[in-house]
């Protein structure tokens, strides 16, 4: 081909910050809430290993308004995680066929959310059951 000189456009470096990819980036950001909460739990485990004084300090932190705000952010992040997790879950499975019909992906998402809600309730009941 004479005169053939394909032009390669550079990729937009901030693609992840713009629609339609911003929603995806926010979904991925929920991982920060999950990991962040794990770090707080880890701090608790370390304080437990360090003795009663240290553990009391961790409990005092949990009672502080800073912790309240932090856990509110964790909660929002983890709830967003729950919602987006089951939205994407059907994509990671082969097409589910029950009887002679393909199960719509929205049903799989709904089933996942139902299990999550049930699990949520069960854990809270469990906590009530084992409380002193």
């Amino acid at each position: 081909m004479s005169g053939a000189r394909p032009y390669i456009r550079p990729i937009e470096p901030l693609w992840w910050a713009r629609p339609p990819y911003l929603a995806y980036t926010l979904r991925e950001a929920t991982g920060v809430a999950v990991a962040g909460y794990a770090v707080v739990l880890l701090a608790g485990v370390i304080s437990l290993a360090s003795g009663e004084g240290a553990y009391q300090a961790w409990l005092d932190f949990l009672r502080s308004p800073w912790s309240l705000a932090l856990h509110l952010l964790f909660l929002i992040g983890i709830l967003a995680h729950v919602w987006t997790w089951f939205a994407i879950m059907p994509k990671t499975m082969p097409r589910l066929v029950i009887g002679d019909r393909v199960v719509p992906q929205s049903w799989i998402t709904a089933a996942g959310l139902a299990v999550a809600i049930a699990s949520f309730i069960v854990i809270l009941l469990l906590a009530k059951w084992v409380q002193p």
């Binding site: 980036t25 909660l75 409380q131």
Partner: protein, 122 residues
């Protein structure tokens, strides 16, 4: 054949990511509610829910250790994979450097968890 047919190691990180994500989806909201709100402020739960005695008893039990390691570990590895991929999308650094920072942190904190759980004793 080279890199084109070399098997990726991504599954090493993707399975813990998946397991952690499923766990977080099922128990995350309840845990945050309990440890972040209900227990510290004794709302809906009696005071002393997370007392030193009860927490120690839980963490000293082998199943308790397993639960703590499972929750903390899987949550960390889930977060690490997502944070790594997002930082890579943002061109925050070289791929290998980002892998070491993200997965390295998760690995280090997992080791710290194991050490602390062992230090708590039985």
């Amino acid at each position: 054949m080279g890199a084109a047919v070399k098997r990726s190691i991504a599954p090493l990180f993707w399975l813990p990511f998946g397991a952690g994500g499923m766990l977080a989806a099922l128990i995350g909201p309840a845990l945050v509610l309990i440890t972040g709100f209900a227990a510290p402020h004794a709302v809906g739960l009696s005071p002393g829910f997370m007392s030193f005695a009860r927490a120690s008893a839980f963490a000293q039990h082998p199943l308790g250790k397993l639960v703590l390691l499972g929750v903390i570990g899987l949550f960390l590895w889930h977060g690490a994979e997502r944070i790594y991929l997002t930082l890579r999308d943002m061109h925050a650094g070289g791929k290998l450097a980002l892998m070491w920072i993200c997965y390295g942190s998760a690995g280090a904190l997992t080791c710290v968890t194991v050490a602390a759980l062992l230090a708590i004793g039985w």
